[in-house]
């Protein structure tokens, strides 16, 4: 029985570890500036996790194999422990675990402890149940005034743009987010109704959009293309299809897009969505 249990534990361990090792199912290729450091930290952590997991399970299998009752006449070892061992394994795990935690701060700090660099491309994001709205400031780079009381979905004014404000004249609102490649992007995240979450797997980035707050975050996307955008915070009935796309465009193409009026913008985005294809996901 002890041997059977040991073997099963080892097989389960091998199976679990190999699922991570073969990487058949893994992150989609990253496109953001911070992703390389993040993926490195993930790999480092997963290696530590893998070693600790394997060591513990192999050890567990070993003791149940080795120290099974074989009907021998002598008793088990009579010991109540060892202070030396307790100190050793407490200190060693503390160093490894807290060390990992400290190392893990770098990426977080680079994204969240600094303001967006000057000259970042700004987009206001206004989420609503099962739909994304991206508000572009237009040529003047100034967002027009918005007011919740002016929201009128039937008139397609999803974010309550005040048409009397001169700054709104060149503003564009669209359900697709288009950002320039290689340039820092600052998002001003808002929600109209409940909590949503902005999640693009290739960005390795996620942030809640909380009603009543404007949350500013920034990142840089480097590779042009079309990426799926998902909501990652339960927002109600159709949470699973609160989907849109993120277009990462070469700077010139992006600049040209931003100069367009609402109607032209819409036509152009439709065109771009066909022009760019989703990454070739491994099947």
């Amino acid at each position: 029985m002890g041997r059977a249990l040991a073997v099963i534990i080892w097989i389960l361990t091998l199976g679990s570890v190999s699922l991570f090792f073969v990487k058949k199912w893994w992150f989609p290729e990253a496109i953001s500036s911070h992703a390389a450091a993040l993926d490195r930290q993930f790999m480092l952590t997963i290696i530590v996790v893998g070693i600790a997991f394997t060591a513990a399970q192999v050890g567990l299998g070993y003791v149940v194999w080795k120290f099974r009752d074989r009907g021998q006449s002598d008793r088990a070892v009579y010991t109540h422990g060892s202070n030396r061992l307790e100190v050793i394994w407490t200190v060693v795990t503390a160093i490894i675990f807290i060390g990992l935690a400290v190392m893990g701060q770098t990426v977080w700090a680079s994204l969240h402890f600094n303001k967006a660099p000057v000259g970042s491309f700004q987009v206001e994001v206004v989420a609503q149940q099962f739909q994304w709205n991206f508000h572009y400031p237009g040529k003047d780079a100034v967002f027009g005034r918005t007011d919740p009381s002016m929201i009128d979905d039937s008139a397609l004014n999803y974010i309550g743009l005040d048409s009397t404000d001169p700054n709104t004249k060149d503003d564009v609102v669209h359900s697709v987010i288009a950002v320039p490649a290689g340039q820092p992007v600052e998002l001003l995240l808002r929600s109209r109704d409940v909590i949503h979450n902005f999640w693009v797997p290739q960005l390795r980035f996620k942030q809640d959009l909380v009603p009543g707050m404007v949350i500013r975050v920034h990142f840089t996307a480097n590779r042009p293309g079309k990426y799926e955008l998902a909501c990652a915070e339960l927002c109600g009935q159709f949470h699973f299809r609160m989907k849109s796309f993120m277009l990462v465009l070469p700077p010139e193409e992006h600049q040209a897009l931003m100069a367009l009026s609402q109607d032209q913008f819409q036509t152009k985005v439709t065109e771009l969505l066909t022009k760019y294809e989703l990454p070739a996901y491994q099947q």
């Binding site: 389960l12 930290q41 996790v49 050890g59 009579y78 701060q105 009381s149 409940v194 989907k243």
Partner: protein, 626 residues
């Protein structure tokens, strides 16, 4: 401490009528069994829900005619709609966390065995104990009613249904996940289906549950501190008692916060306060003018201030049972008893400082995320210490492999498997891709769900002979163990890789996203594993019922164990020790003592003049005697 002065308080005569004996019983043993039966009923409901969810995820759009018949609104034509799925998510989580993982380990086994293990005749407050069970049961009935009130158009539109908040008719229960984030949960009908009476009842149920748990926690703490028998010093208590005690302290400090939060949420929903609802919300072009100035993040802080200690409330008793059972079947003292006690304390204490790791991406201050991250990884240290000591207990042992031991070893394996990925999720940076994906799901299901349940399986196979005077069937028990162990690995390990790909949790379907397409074979594999594992639990249920009546008879101490529950009859008499309270002379795990006649020394075995002194560790400190 004087035992005598307390006897008058808790002593009550043995009841004679059926109702006082088995229904409204004051006997902690009967109440413990009632809690276990409640958990067994609740876990059946929760498991059934998880199977329904897996069916929908793996074979979306398939028509299951039985579903259509049972839930014509949630599954019209037998095809589950997203509302139904999300209410299953909500109910599964709530029922499992509260009515299974909090009731069985603490209210069930703790209630039954804590008084016996410390040599008391009953809990300190038997009436309070009875009340805590019935209040908890009421909470369970209320949450079940949420399904029917919210989902049944006739009930929802009746006077009572409307008074409770009405229903959407289209769904089956509340929608909000077990975390019930505001404002989705706070504004009612405008936020969509599943936000009517069902959500009110969900909150009320949890509030009731909090009250029941608080009553229980007070009772546990008082009993343990005041009612230990002569010689039962704190450091001679079994590790189970330390675990139940710490759990009770956690419950005492965390449930009031959830209770308060629940009341505030209910006020937001019913009388228009704005604790969690900011002003200017817009649903379908109409501005919600009834609220202003609340904070959605406040709900998350309050919820997780409870929610994280709750994880330890679920698993600490399993750790206690595992330590206890490992030592007994290893025929060897617990390795590092004192370190184990400190580790339980450390986990309990640190458990109160890490709630923010659920909120890294919530919009709270990124600087606090840094603090929470480092504290979170620190909690891995006492967890690792426990694992090392479990391995140390098995080292040099003489292991007997019976079902309780198999499940206890399974607990160690699963605790490591589930807990270790906390090193990933506890880092705020890595939470950016991982938050709310299946990686999180896999992590907490393994550690808080499955590992805790393995602790309870170990406990039931171990203590069943004491509770009913009969063994559970060993063959069926082993069948149950092997399939369940392999099954849960097959269910939850692949979920990690799903999370790495980026699969978001709480999605009713994965059909909308191309980046998830490649995961379909894994999704189906997990579902099949889940169905097999759930079906295997029927073997366990059969074993329970069959063995109560037909199981092999067990004597007072069938496992040759050392603690006080094994000196009394199986099952124990009404006052546990037939009028004579035991006196304790030594620590709880005196196995393999050199020179002793047997390989185990009961805690009640007096020291014999001239016999070798036992319980003195060879490393210079004495963990067992004061």
């Amino acid at each position: 401490m004087s035992v005598e002065t307390h006897e008058a308080v808790h002593r009550h005569p043995a009841p004679t009528s059926f109702i006082r004996k088995y229904i409204f019983s004051l006997d902690h043993k009967v109440i413990g069994i009632q809690y276990i039966i409640l958990a067994l009923a609740a876990v059946l409901v929760g498991m059934t829900m998880s199977v329904l969810m897996r069916l929908n995820l793996s074979w979306p759009g398939t028509s299951w005619s039985i579903l259509g018949t049972l839930f014509p609104t949630g599954a019209p034509g037998g095809i589950m709609n997203p509302d139904f799925y999300l209410s299953l998510v909500t109910m599964h989580g709530t029922i499992m966390v509260f009515f299974v993982l909090t009731t069985a380990p603490q209210g069930g086994f703790g209630n039954y065995f804590l008084p016996i293990q410390i040599g008391a005749e009953d809990m300190a407050f038997p009436v309070l104990n009875m009340m805590s069970f019935w209040v908890t049961l009421l909470g369970f009935l209320v949450i079940l009613s949420a399904i029917f009130v919210e989902g049944n158009t006739t009930i929802a539109n009746s006077a009572l249904g409307l008074w409770l908040g009405g229903g959407s008719g289209a769904t089956v229960g509340p929608i909000g996940g077990w975390t019930g984030y505001a404002p989705l949960s706070a504004v009612g009908a405008p936020a969509g289906p599943g936000q009517g009476a069902g959500m009110n009842l969900w909150i009320i149920s949890i509030a009731i549950f909090c009250v029941g748990s608080l009553l229980g926690a007070l009772n546990f703490i008082t009993t343990l501190l005041n009612m230990r028998t002569r010689g039962m010093t704190l450091m001679r208590m079994p590790l189970t008692c330390w675990a139940w005690f710490t759990t009770a302290v956690l419950a005492l400090l965390s449930f009031p916060v959830l209770l308060g939060a629940g009341i505030l949420l209910l006020l937001d929903r019913t009388v228009g306060t704005s604790f969690f609802v900011p002003g200017g919300l817009v649903f379908g072009s109409s501005v919600l003018t009834s609220h202003t100035g609340g904070s959605p993040i406040l709900w998350q802080h309050l919820f997780w201030f409870f929610g994280h200690p709750e994880v330890y409330i679920a698993i600490l008793p399993g750790m206690g049972a595992t330590s206890h059972i490992l030592s007994t079947f290893a025929r060897k003292p617990v390795f590092g008893y004192r370190a184990m006690v400190f580790a339980i304390f450390a986990i309990g204490l640190l458990g109160f400082f890490v709630w923010g790791h659920h909120m890294f991406i919530s919009g709270m201050s990124p600087y606090s995320a840094m603090t929470f991250s480092i504290l979170t990884l620190s909690i891995g240290v006492p967890s690792a210490v426990k694992t090392f000591n479990w391995l140390g207990t098995l080292w040099g042992a003489k292991i007997r492999f019976q079902t309780p031991m198999l499940f206890a070893i399974g607990f160690v394996s699963l605790f490591v498997a589930g807990g270790i990925t906390g090193l990933v999720l506890g880092q705020s940076s890595l939470d950016l891709p991982m938050h709310d994906t299946y990686f999180v799901l896999a992590h907490f299901h393994l550690v808080m769900g499955v590992a805790s349940i393995f602790g309870m399986f170990a406990a039931i196979y171990f203590w069943f002979p004491k509770m009913f005077g009969r063994f559970l069937n060993e063959r069926l028990g082993q069948l149950h163990f092997w399939i369940t162990l392999v099954g849960v690995y097959c269910i939850f390990v692949p979920m990690h890789t799903m999370g790495i790909v980026g699969m978001p949790r709480r999605y009713a379907q994965f059909t909308e996203y191309r980046f998830l397409d490649s995961l379909h074979p894994l999704v189906v594999f997990v579902s099949i594993a889940a169905i097999i594992t759930v079906l295997t639990q029927l073997v366990f249920y059969f074993n329970l019922i069959w063995s109560v009546f037909k199981g092999k008879r067990a004597g007072a101490n069938p496992w040759e164990a050392t603690t006080l529950e094994w000196i009394t009859d199986s099952p124990p008499p009404h006052d546990n020790f037939a009028g004579v309270l035991p006196v304790v002379y030594r620590g709880p795990y005196e196995f393999a003592v050199p020179g002793a006649p047997n390989d185990y020394l009961m805690q009640t075995e007096p020291d014999v003049e001239g016999a070798p002194v036992t319980g003195v560790p060879d490393n210079g400190h004495n963990g067992h005697k004061h």
